[in-house]
Subunit: 200 residues, 2 copies
C-alpha cells in the first residue's frame, strides 16, 4: 500500500468553514482537498492501493487527522466542493481519542496530529517531499509500502520537519520547479506506478 | 512557450451553470478548471511561459474556446470556485468571431472550437496525450514550443482524434495508469521542466 500524508499548518480541524469560500475561511483546506483527489482518484476510479491522511493543525479543534482508505472508500468525487462536504461531515463528529476511529466506509478521524498518523503507519517507509532534495527518479523507493509526507502551501514548520527527521523520513524532490502539493503527489505516484510496472 | 489545450466534449460554452454544482450543471467544466490550474499555476506563482486553452463543446453557445496566457494573466487562484467564476464571467461576453478576442488581461475568447485554437498555435509542435502511446520520457520533445492536447473525462471523440491526426499531433503517454487529465498535465509539464533544466 502507498500512503500520502498532507500536513495543513492552518487547515481547519473543525467544520465551521464556508463551502463557497474555502480558501478564505478554512485555513486553505482547499489545498489539502486537491491533494486528496490527486492521491486517491484516477480516471473513472479510486486507487485501491492508496491511503491518504490529512493532518489539520488549524482552528479550535486542532490537532486532528483524517484518514481516507482507497481500498474501501465510497462516493469519492473529484470536485473540491464534494470533497469539502465529505470532510466537513467528518469533522462534525464527536472527539474520540488519538487513534483513528471509523466514521463511515473508508473514512476515519483521530484527535491528534502527526503523532496519530505516525502511530498508524506501521511498517511503511517514510519519505518527505522537499524542494532541492535528491531526485525521486534517481533514488531507490520502497514501492510496496511507501509513505510520502507532503507540506501545504506553507511547507513544513520546524517542529514537523524535526519530527519527520526523527522517524528517518528520507527527503525526495520531484524536479526543478516549486510545485503545488497536489502536482507533486501526482508526479510521485506516477513514479511508483512506473516502478511497479517495470518490475511486473 | 508551452501550451496545453483541454477539450471538453460537453463542457458548457455558456455561463449558465451553478457554482455550487459544477459537476452536475456545467458538462464537467470542473474537469477543465482543474486542468487550467495544473497547466498554469505553480507554488506561489504562475507559469509565465505557459498558455492554456479550454475548448468548450457543450451547451447552447458551443463551440467556444477560452485562452489564458500565463505570461500576462492576473488574479489566477487555484481553487475551483474562483476559476469557475473567472470562466463564467468570460463566457458572459458577446459573440466576437472565430479569432481570439481579449476580454481582460491574459484572458481571451473565440467563437469556435478546435479550429480556433489550431489557428492560434502558429509554429508550436503538437502532441496528444493518449493512453498506451509512446512514453513521454522516452520520446524527443520540442521543449521550446510544445502544444499538448488533452481530453476530458470522456477522452477524445472521433472527429477530434482525426483532426489532431491531420495536423500531425504525435501521441504520447505518461505511464501505465489511466489518470485524470490534470495529473497527466502535471506529469508532462514536469518532464518539460526536467528537460529544460538538463539542457540549461
Amino acid at each position: 500500500m502507498r500512503r500520502f500524508i498532507v500536513i495543513g499548518q492552518r487547515a481547519a480541524a473543525s467544520g465551521d468553514f464556508l463551502l463557497h469560500d474555502l480558501p478564505g475561511t478554512s485555513g486553505r483546506l482547499d489545498v489539502l482537498l486537491r491533494c486528496l483527489r490527486a492521491a486517491l482518484l484516477v480516471s473513472h476510479g479510486v486507487r485501491r492501493d492508496t491511503t491518504a491522511y490529512l493532518v489539520l493543525l488549524g482552528g479550535t479543534r486542532a490537532p486532528r487527522a483524517l484518514r481516507v482508505e482507497g481500498s474501501i472508500a465510497e462516493y469519492l468525487r473529484p470536485d473540491e466542493r464534494s470533497l469539502a462536504n465529505l470532510v466537513r461531515k467528518a469533522l462534525a463528529t464527536a472527539p474520540s481519542g488519538p487513534e483513528f476511529a471509523a466514521i463511515r466506509h473508508g473514512l476515519a478521524i483521530a484527535d491528534g496530529g502527526l503523532d496519530s498518523v505516525l502511530a498508524d503507519l506501521r511498517h511503511a517507509t517514510p519519505y518527505v517531499l522537499e524542494e532541492g532534495a535528491a531526485d525521486v527518479r534517481e533514488q531507490p523507493l520502497d514501492t510496496a509500502a511507501p509513505a510520502f509526507f507532503v507540506g501545504d502551501d506553507l511547507g513544513f514548520d520546524e517542529v514537523t520537519r524535526n519530527r519527520l527527521r526523527g522517524v528517518g523520513a528520507k527527503p525526495l524532490s520531484v524536479g526543478p520547479m516549486s510545485l503545488h502539493a497536489e502536482d507533486a503527489i501526482a508526479i510521485v505516484s506516477n513514479e511508483v506506478d512506473r516502478r511497479r510496472a517495470a518490475t511486473g
